[in-house]
Symmetry: C2
Subunit: 310 residues, 2 copies
């Protein structure tokens, strides 16, 4: 029991702190630029984020083949060199495909999996439960449940999260920002129920410093994928409970949050990576690069931050 509890604690700790979600640069045919992946992930590992979320939604996992996803993982594992955990998205519409992707990620050296209930036909709770049991059982890697209804079109109930918390290697959940209640109330509710065994983190960057202040375990951050130092500074203030400093740092981010909300963090990330000189890449079509006038607004939003930070 002691050993299992310790192992569980170790698995959960992988899903604590600031997790950075970079884009996955690729050409128009979906062939991944592995040098670009190495550059982006190596930079994040050196910057001091707590983990990297490779092939998340911003990492366009849904648009890449199994082969290309493996190539991206291989490049990132080498570039990160074990400095921090590499959490890899293994989502796919088919259960069998997601199992294959999970095994690939383990074989390539990933430290953990992020698993989204990707849906086309709307799924029932039982279907998602059985899918997660099947995919989690395909490897020994700890799994973070990816709860992001805006892309997967499935919403986990607290009861389903509770059922999944009992699956041996399911260790964490990545939540969307709550629509109808405060972060503190949602965290208290989840932690007092059967889902309380899971490490609980949030995505939706504009609300995540607040989530850390409210005691969430993790911030799954698109911002940290291209401006890790900016995200680290605000995450540290939030985890220290310094609400005044969080508010002050967050003020400077408002122009970027406005762009995230209007155009999606993914499109903004591609533009930001170009503006920052990190990498020139386009999102997979049908997703289009931001129009020039929006890109100029991204430039302005970044200049406020980079004048102080870079």
């Amino acid at each position: 029991m002691g050993t299992i509890a310790a192992r569980d604690q170790g698995a959960r700790s992988m899903f604590h702190g600031l997790s950075a979600f970079p884009i996955t640069p690729a050409d128009e045919h979906g062939i991944v630029d592995v040098e670009g992946v190495a550059k982006l992930t190596g930079r994040l590992a050196n910057a001091g984020v707590d983990s990297i979320g490779l092939l998340g939604s911003t990492g366009t996992y849904a648009y890449l083949t199994r082969t290309e996803r493996s190539r991206a993982i291989r490049a990132a594992v080498k570039a990160v060199g074990g400095k921090i955990p590499l959490i890899v998205g293994a989502g796919a519409l088919r259960t069998t495909d997601a199992q294959d992707l999970a095994r690939d990620a383990e074989a390539e050296g990933a430290d953990a999996l992020l698993l989204a209930p990707v849906s086309y036909t709307p799924l029932t709770e039982e279907e998602v439960f059985q899918h997660f049991v099947a995919v989690a059982g395909a490897t020994a890697l700890p799994v973070c449940i990816y709860n992001n209804p805006s892309t997967t079109h499935f919403t986990f109930s607290p009861a389903l999260l509770g059922r999944l918390a009992d699956v041996p290697n399911i260790a964490a959940v990545k939540m969307p920002l709550p629509a109808a209640k405060t972060l503190s109330a949602e965290l208290a509710e989840l932690r007092s129920g059967p889902a309380g065994k899971l490490a609980i983190g949030y995505s939706g960057d504009w609300g995540c410093p607040g989530a850390l202040l409210a005691g969430a375990d993790a911030w799954y951050s698109v911002l940290a994928g291209f401006l890790p130092q900016v995200a680290i500074e605000i995450a540290q203030a939030a985890r220290a409970g310094d609400a005044a400093n969080v508010a002050s740092l967050n003020d400077r981010l408002q122009p970027l949050w406005t762009l995230f909300r209007a155009h999606g963090g993914l499109r903004v990330s591609y533009a930001a990576c170009g503006e920052l000189g990190l990498i020139q890449a386009k999102p997979p079509r049908p997703i289009l690069p931001l129009a020039d006038e929006v890109r100029l607004r991204v430039r302005d939003a970044l200049s406020v931050l980079t004048a102080a930070q870079l």
Copy 2:
């Protein structure tokens, strides 16, 4: 001009009447049972439906590889033997993949394409427009726009439908049942605007006899995929404007419509194909077969219909 108008008319006529959407039987690894496809599609062609929608949502196109989709098309083209048009789903998340699927369908002998704006990252109107232009331009086949927000998570505005109606080989739209207005009002609105050039059909079987009564051009029918005679009878009554007969025939279908709405036409189709002795197949996981107690209700709902019809 006359030739183009005549060709347009021909393309649009392909999207008139009752279009039957069968399941695509496949094994647990997604390998298509081509004999099963031939059996199901040959039966539909002989039954006298106006067209077949192969690899629609009910045909689990989203869950099948490019290779398996080609195998299914080849089997159906052979089985249908040109008796009626074969409309083939070419949807994919990536624009380049959808273009490849469209070319494959044309090469295998499909008569038309059904194109869904499959999304993961929520798409903008311009992204969907450019996607449709790119995929429609990949072949000479007429294209039906697949407007089904419950699976694609994208809703076409009348303005976007109007823009797409000007793309040369985009000839039709498959609409969801309107939520907030009557079918007559929606049809009048669409037909008086720039989308009026398109043939306008509906899916959502329970409301489609009413759509035909209201003057819609087509019923894209899951029911017709397994009970073509039942659907033909009610479609004929509706197209003849016999509202009383439609109401009477529709009454017998209420138990089935209740099941469609509660469990989805796809899951009911698999169960019905088994109950009717057409084919024993399971949907692709994560989608699960209906539980035994629901399957018994499918059996009961079918027995009302088949006692009179089969």
